[in-house]
């Protein structure tokens, strides 16, 4: 029967009655079907689409649907493979990665894919509370040391615990490395000065080394071009005339 087919007094009652019964039987069917339960199986299980009735609730802390191995949740940085290139921090749209760099006096070692490491990371912090899980940092990472793991339940009582520290240097070690690098720079500067003795004083000032351990970052300035509305050719002609 189509709805509102018989829009008279008794027609309404009959339609109301039949639809009420239909609804009641529908809920009763669900109530009876509640003896079945959906199992917590992942989507790649062949039985995934077989459960079409019964309870669908997942009692989460007690049971969980397995996440695929390539799940993209919490970030992890394999610091041994990291060359501290800072690309991830630059691309991050929410600025959740913070890196402090110390230049090394010599080559530290090689990553597992053979890239030479020349920088120490005094600090490599990822604030997972800020992370938006876009995955851009993992895309730009040249050594693929920054990856997303399948861990997704890592809530904390204190939001400060959401900041993950990946650097393997203790503050004392970092200080030591910094000093070492400064020493080396001073030595180099001395050698330079000795070499160019008698030169103009100015040049020494100009070639002043970066003693503070600062890394000069290329500054990207977005240039906003003014939008010039296209003028019709006849208008231009008017002006010319």
């Amino acid at each position: 029967m189509t709805k509102g087919a018989n829009n008279t007094y008794f027609g309404n009652i009959r339609e109301g009655f039949s639809s009420l019964m239909k609804g009641l039987f529908l809920t009763l069917k669900h109530f009876v079907d509640a003896r079945f339960r959906r199992k917590p199986i992942p989507v790649f299980d062949k039985d995934y689409f077989k459960y079409d009735k019964g309870i669908v609730t997942l009692e989460y802390p007690h049971e969980a649907i397995p996440v695929p191995d390539n799940g993209r949740y919490r970030l992890h940085n394999e610091i041994d493979d990291c060359i501290v290139c800072d690309l991830c921090a630059k691309i991050c749209p929410v600025n959740c990665i913070e890196i402090d760099v110390i230049k090394s006096t010599e080559e530290i070692g090689k990553t597992s894919d053979g890239t030479t490491k020349r920088l120490y990371a005094a600090r490599f912090d990822i604030d997972m509370a800020k992370c938006c899980y876009c995955g851009l940092c993992t895309t730009v990472c040249p050594t693929e040391c920054l990856t997303m793991t399948k861990t997704y339940d890592y809530s904390e009582y204190d939001i400060r615990n959401m900041v993950y520290h990946f650097s393997d240097l203790t503050p004392a070690q970092a200080e030591e490395k910094k000093k070492l690098f400064e020493e080396q720079q001073k030595q180099k500067a001395k050698v330079e000065v000795d070499k160019n003795k008698g030169n103009v004083e100015d040049s020494a000032l100009k070639d002043k080394p970066a003693t503070e351990g600062e890394v000069k970052k290329p500054v990207f300035k977005p240039v906003i071009k003014p939008v010039i509305p296209k003028k019709s050719p006849d208008q231009d002609q008017d002006k010319k005339e």
Partner: protein, 367 residues
């Protein structure tokens, strides 16, 4: 006195179980699990909730009319609990053997309207007042089809005594202390001459003694849902419109009293429906020749077995009715106010009036 304690205990136990059952039923209807954590399968959930409610602070809003606000839950609960006084739980167990039982029940539960107005007005809150006004108009309107459908039974049974109505619907029909003896005929029609007084069971229930009473029971059921403010007639406490209706401002123990009253009302109307239409404490199985199913599943009045069987059948049937109430609640959407009034005045009341007329005619066929 025994009945008082029994019914108070029964009501409290019922509320604890019914709240849990309601949550489980609603969960199963919606393909969920419901409470699972407190106790085995979440059985302790209601107890935990109650403990929390009792510990809560009894907040009285500073702008509320304090006296009315504090008295209202007590008035509501008292008037509904007073209704249990005349319910026959078994052949011998009834709080008060009054011959105007049905009338008493209808009148005393109409008193809770006063409590609702008290709560709505005393809260000094527009949602509460709206809820109270809606509730009063709804309860007063639905009292008419409710009373008319009860009147059908009263006309068939020729008595207002609930215990006597219960006795009439079973094999012990002539064991009650009334003067005239009763003969139950199949479908109540004497003309066919099929005497089923000794068969009893479902055949002598009121919905079978007078088959039209089945329709009266449907009217009674719908009206009783509206009387107890349950979905789909829960517009007095429509949470999407009125926060919580007349008990918006209540918290803690007083709120618990409101809940107790609401669930008590559910139980009361379910009991009443079972007693009036579905045979009360009588067994559903009839005696068939030598297979005395009715006699086996019930005991003679006055014996312990009779009382236990009676209480078992009455409570069993009531639970079924309450389950139906819950299913209805979780199936249907809430009615609009105009739909509510349409249903009451244009559908249920004329139908009930017609049934009253037909019951009168049927009664003539019964004697």
């Amino acid at each position: 006195m025994l009945a008082f304690i029994l019914f108070l205990g029964l009501l409290l136990l019922y509320v604890v179980i019914a709240v849990y059952a309601e949550r489980k039923v609603s969960a199963f209807v919606q393909d969920r699990i419901g409470p699972t954590e407190v106790g085995y399968k979440g059985l302790g959930q209601t107890v935990a909730d109650l403990l929390k409610l009792i510990q809560k602070e009894d907040i009285v809003p500073s702008a509320a009319d304090k006296k009315l606000f504090l008295i209202a839950p007590i008035v509501i609960f008292t008037s509904i609990f007073a209704g249990f006084a005349v319910l026959p739980l078994s052949p011998d167990l009834v709080g008060s053997k009054v011959s105007v039982g049905v009338l008493y029940l209808i009148t005393i539960i109409s008193m809770d309207v006063i409590g609702l107005i008290m709560a709505g007005w005393g809260s000094n809150n527009k949602f509460s007042l709206y809820g109270a006004v809606r509730s009063v108009s709804q309860i007063l309107s639905y009292e008419i089809p409710l009373t008319l459908s009860i009147l059908c039974v009263v006309m068939i049974s020729q008595t207002l005594d609930l215990q006597e109505i219960s006795f009439q619907q079973g094999i012990w029909a002539n064991h009650y202390e009334s003067e005239n003896s009763i003969t139950n005929y199949l479908f109540g029609i004497k003309y066919f001459g099929i005497d089923i007084t000794q068969a009893g069971g479902i055949l002598s229930w009121n919905i079978f003694r007078m088959p039209l009473l089945f329709f009266a029971y449907i009217i009674f059921f719908i009206a009783s849902l509206a009387e107890s403010n349950r979905a789909p007639f829960d517009i007095p406490e429509a949470e999407s419109e009125l926060v919580a209706g007349y008990h918006t401002e209540y918290s803690g123990f007083r709120w618990a009293l409101f809940m107790l009253a609401e669930y008590g009302m559910m139980l009361l109307v379910a009991f009443l429906g079972v007693i009036l239409f579905l045979g009360g404490w009588n067994t559903p199985f009839p005696n068939i020749g030598e297979v005395k199913l009715a006699a086996w599943t019930s005991g003679a009045p006055g014996t312990i077995a009779g009382n236990l069987w009676g209480a078992f059948w009455l409570i069993g049937k009531t639970i079924l009715v309450i389950f139906l109430q819950m299913m209805v609640r979780w199936t249907y959407p809430r009615l609009r106010v105009d739909q509510l009034m349409y249903l009451c005045w244009k559908v249920l009341t004329p139908a009930a009036l017609l049934l009253v007329f037909l019951s009168g005619i049927w009664r003539l066929l019964m004697v």
